[in-house]
């Protein structure tokens, strides 16, 4: 019984820690500034409002701004870029996830199972390219992308995000692939299968949960990446969510509640993705893990 209590206490603590700040953003987006900033603090002294979300999606100016006509300009339309930025971020992140799952796993398999000259060197090379801090590579990355004619194009962001995620994907997956008992694959070899078939028919299904994990990792890193997305996109058309959120967080015309509303919206696509994907991972864990 003590174990059960311990588990539930831990679960609640975890819920508070992880979700607490995010629940706060939701609260912050529906409680008016006047209540949020009151001292002594009385958060629930005023009525909550969905005006900020309304503004983001429809452009209807919140009631609080209508008090004195002359000030109606103190609200910015920049926050209405959020829906489009969400779309851009999602497209880029899904592409990066795809690149990682497909090409990353292939490279990882080569390192896990094949022998060839220059293996250590190549492996080191791929993994080491994450050593140099991002800020030091800004100028050369910018110049390369510009010479490819890809400035202000989502493809550039996908490429750069891929280079940021692939080394880790390759590293992790090669370790996971190697943890699959060799005998299973050798059984296939004896039956005459070449590396590619072994890879597709045996390795991939067995590593489903780790593939999903690394795919998720790639998605999340891309979805939340700020620095390169900032440098490589210049118009609202291609701008990603982190760049918009970064701009909003220091924009004086964005009320705190508006900013929090934007942050909360950021979570929704991720929530959807996670709900879809986790089910698959869970099944992979239940059925895949117990195979050996």
């Amino acid at each position: 019984m003590a174990r059960k209590i311990f588990i539930y206490v831990a679960a609640v603590a975890l819920l508070l820690f992880c979700a607490g700040p995010l629940a706060l953003t939701f609260l912050g987006s529906i409680i008016p500034d006047a209540a949020l900033l009151s001292f002594p603090p009385r958060w629930f002294s005023k009525k909550t409002t969905l005006d900020y979300y309304n503004y983001i999606f429809t452009g209807k100016v919140p009631q609080a701004y209508d008090v004195r006509g002359a000030e109606r300009g103190m609200i910015t339309q920049e926050v209405r870029q959020i829906p489009n930025a969400m779309k851009n971020s999602a497209i880029v992140a899904v592409s990066v996830m795809g690149v990682n799952i497909v090409f990353g796993s292939m490279a990882a398999y080569a390192f896990a199972r094949l022998r060839f000259r220059g293996k250590s060197l190549t492996f080191m090379g791929i993994v080491m390219c994450r050593l140099l801090p991002a800020a030091a590579l800004i100028v050369p990355f910018y110049l390369i992308v510009q010479s490819l004619g890809l400035l202000d194009n989502k493809l550039a962001v996908v490429l750069v995000h891929s280079i940021l995620t692939l080394p880790f994907t390759v590293l992790i997956l090669s370790v996971f692939f190697r943890s699959i008992p060799v005998e299973i694959e050798e059984a296939a070899t004896i039956d005459g299968a070449d590396p590619w078939t072994t890879f597709v028919r045996i390795t991939l299904p067995l590593s489903a949960s780790s593939m999903v994990a690394t795919g998720l990792f790639a998605f999340m890193l891309s979805y939340s990446e700020f620095l390169y997305a900032l440098i490589l996109t210049g118009t609202a058309r291609t701008r990603t969510l982190p760049v918009v959120m970064g701009a909003l967080s220091t924009n004086t015309d964005v009320a705190w509640g508006m900013l929090m509303g934007g942050v909360f919206l950021t979570l929704l696509p991720t929530l959807v993705l996670v709900i879809i994907v986790w089910r698959f991972v869970v099944e992979g864990i239940i059925f895949g893990g117990s195979k050996y």
Partner: protein, 295 residues
Amino acid sequence: MATRETSRYPIQWLFPVLILVIVFTIYPFAYAVWNSLFQILLVLPTKPFVGLQNYLDVVVSRYFLEALTNTLLFSLVTAPIVVVVALGVARLLLTKFVGRGVLRAVVLLPWAIPGAVSGIIWMWIFHGQFGVLNIVLYRLGIIHKYIPWLTEPSLARMAVVIAHVWTQIPFAAVLLMAALTTINKELYEAAEVDGAGPFRRLLSVTIPHIKGIMLITLIYELIIGITTYDTVYSMTGGGPGGATTLLSYYIWAESFKMLHFGRGAALGVIMALLTLVLIMTILKAIPNEIMVKEE
């Protein structure tokens, strides 16, 4: 026999990754290292070769020592915390209990938030005048005066560590969950039969089996700790004083604000070497199979 006999370079497996690496790594690395050897001040027309002078300038500069200390401390403190907490979280999420599905989804959410925005949220939590933590503690009667979380150096450092750990838990937990599922359940049962309690099982069954992944996670978190700055800077701006300044910020500052691209590049190289040394030390100190040389 663990591997095949092929000796031909498996170009078809590696091609896409290699192309990206070559284009986006070799040239930029070379560019950075090359630039670090010149005095490149944007407002001056000439770029004289200065050898290692930039490196020297960086190391004796006013910000270096404090930022270096802060960065190392930050990294060495957050990385183990993340790994340990994430291991607990992973273990918890694999246990059966009501609401587990919801918790699994919720734990992942901090991952989707850009670092700078996480910094804003946690700044709101820790702020001295309108911060949530102060408000909650005040309403519960635990404090009668707001605590200056972000303007007291030691408290500020603690606050940024907490915020950073929050951003890293989802990723580490996912990795460790995947790693934990590779452990055969029967090994646990065997240990239990032998009379091993939960802690003993952790040490003798769990950790040995996922050591590789744990190590990789630790190293990855160290790298992140050394190279990150957006969460911290959006919380504190590097303050108070210089208590939360981080080295990575200065690469950006040297190049784009002080317009000294040579020094910015030099700092980048210094940090890369620092990271390399750190990683090598850890890999040598803890026995593992990551760097196994093929025979």
